[in-house]
Subunit: 301 residues, 3 copies
């Protein structure tokens, strides 16, 4: 009788517990796996003045109301693939696994250039034209897999415009991944050898000097070179170097941070991404050297 | 006795079930209906340099912590209502039902110009001054209803500033809708006839030619005209046309996409919104024609 | 027997209720306290062209996937601490309690300038260099507490770069707060007297005139002065004043809003933040007066 009295109580209690746990875990899963979206970062040369970025956002939110779209960069120099490759690499590097990036610097839109998704070994997803803009991030993060976007059934519509794949193809594919779609379901696998890469010649040692290139000039006028930390031992804090860009050669100390230089004076330092940077304390090194991205430079001890 | 033994168990079980379902459905509703907000898109001529957009965001997040505010465009040419109408129409078109837009291009702020909310037949909500900036989106999406914002009890405060209704009136109304408020509760219904419209003269056929206007010049220098797809049969891929803007007349092929043109050469194509666009492959057609929005043009076969 | 029959039922019912309430309140708390993040607003002089803002966003989302990062301003005039102080104050003022702000205008990065978190009496959190950029917001909101960021265990890594504390220190601290971390756990308490303040001389009455300074020139060309509402009684709607900036003196009426002035004509009004503003209806007062932030001005009755 005791047992029978306790039976319903225990049964009921356990049942409640199980049901509540089911309920909670359902919530847990919905929150964490389904409703909390990875961010979708947008990198374009569209500017923020024109309506194109807004249209991409509209497509993504239409297909996935839970999406979390964030602006990364819309001011890539139009059609400048090398700068795009640099920005895609630099802008994406700190993001966590599962993040999705759409990059639209796409002068060949509407031609037979491929549209691709690639998944890096850091488990991040990159969507855009196969024109080399992913070269540097592919180098840094490695390629886990790549797919050609050839499944119109997940696009905005089956007849995409010839001039705006960012809206009609890349954004729907990003929304598809955002909702939990698998990369292998966006198109046909493509091997690494068939992808387009830009060639970036690395910095090299020539005699006693370093021959290098300007990767990027930032809006302060800092000149970011392709010389990585550790290439030569004599580019180190405390040493005085000579920097030659075009017809201009200047002596410059190697310092730790901008403020180690007198105001307006030129120096070099290893920047926060590990590249050698030519800078001026609160001034523009690029103006002094008339430098822009892509030009060559020499550094002499 | 069996019944009476089972009674508490069943009762308890059912009760648990009902309570859990209530709990879950409450969560469900809160998550889906209440906590997942429609996006609030901001379109202004405020620039991103000044603090005005930040203040609007602050007001919205203060009134609705769950709000999802996104930037669409803050670089409308100051006070340019025709450009604003174009951008509001183009920037909003891909967004889903329930989306909310605030448009602040408002040279008449503080005068007796009306402040309105209008709901389109696509079930999207547009908030801003009644100065014509919604003309094109009203045309495209249709008007379901419109209301004059005359209920100070839902504003930031009852004495709004005379110079910043974007912060004091439009943002609170957007937060009100974001939280699930009904459009009819933001103010008095106003009939369509009492709203202000900008007149955009449509492209027309004059003799053998098309007379049209420049709707917008984008940052690439593409010239977007008001000639819709299908107006005349002879503007089609493969044909050579003559384009006349001001004193400049140039021959231009009609192509499918930018890359069909030689680098730097002028052509025309139907763009991703269905308008005829005069473009140059990786160059600026606007510079070639010295064109800006609002000017007239002729296209000859 | 009745009692014993009811015992399990009641017990079970109450137990269910308690468990469900626990479950719900756990959800409630997770949703409201844990998963619904306060916004993290970014204010920098990084521009949106360079990859630095993206890297900060990446760090924050890596450390707190639930974070809600919003852009406030990335176009502060580089290294202009006075303008930064104005923008930080104006951009943050409408945000609710719990909001987090990162301000990176940091010419002294890598030197011994302190990095701080301060909590205002409005319960908002401000993270950045201790170089005076928080002067105006500290004045307006008051200081509840301030801490020096000296706990490397919550940074991006224990060896932060010497040139980018926005990424390596400020962003991780913001993510720490976003996840519910306490301000006292980010570093050592620092007293108000040890913080760096910029000196802003207030507007003053000299004889019959007001001597003041330009706080900011906005992108319309409106000149925002440091003259607060109520300083003198004769600056009021309807009165005609004389405004002197540098060598230029002009008569200007005091009006309620921009449209009260003829197109292109100069006037003054109290703006939406309560400061006296010199404006031109759809024109640039700054161009007329050749004014920029920091310059002095006189207003005569």
């Amino acid at each position: 009788m005791i047992f029978r009295f306790h039976y319903p109580k225990s049964y009921c209690f356990l049942l409640s517990l199980v049901l509540i746990m089911l309920g909670c875990s359902r919530n847990e899963k919905r929150d964490l796996k389904s409703n909390l979206r990875p961010v979708i970062g947008l990198i374009t040369d569209f500017s923020t003045k024109d309506p194109y970025v807004s249209q991409m956002k509209g497509v993504i939110y239409s297909l996935d109301p839970y999406a979390r779209v964030i602006d990364l960069n819309h001011e890539i120099d139009p059609f400048n693939l090398a700068e795009a490759a640099f920005i895609v690499d630099q802008a994406s590097r700190e993001f966590p696994a599962d993040s999705i990036f759409i990059a639209v610097i796409d002068p060949g839109v509407g031609t037979d250039r491929k549209a691709i998704l690639f998944e890096s070994k850091a488990r991040k997803f990159y969507i855009g034209p196969d024109n080399g803009i992913f070269s540097l991030v592919m180098d840094r993060e490695g390629i886990m897999g790549a797919w050609v976007l050839d499944k119109p059934e997940i696009w905005r519509n089956r007849q995409p415009s010839q001039t705006f794949h960012g809206r009609d193809i890349f954004s729907p594919v990003a929304a598809f991944l955002s909702k939990g779609g698998k990369p292998q379901n966006v198109g046909s696998k493509v091997s690494q050898e068939k992808l387009h890469f830009l060639s970036f010649s690395p910095a090299s040692i020539i005699g006693e000097s370093v021959s290098a290139q300007v990767l990027y000039v930032d809006h302060y006028g800092n000149i970011i070179t392709n010389i990585p930390l550790g290439l030569v031992s004599w580019i180190k804090e405390g040493n005085l170097l000579r920097i030659q860009i075009g017809k201009i050669t200047l002596a410059a100390p190697c310092v730790k941070t901008y403020s180690d230089l007198p105001l307006g004076k030129i120096g070099v330092l290893y920047n926060s991404s590990g590249y050698l940077e030519i800078a001026s304390n609160q001034g523009s090194a690029a103006k002094v050297f008339k430098a822009q991205s892509g030009v060559s430079l020499l550094i002499h001890p």
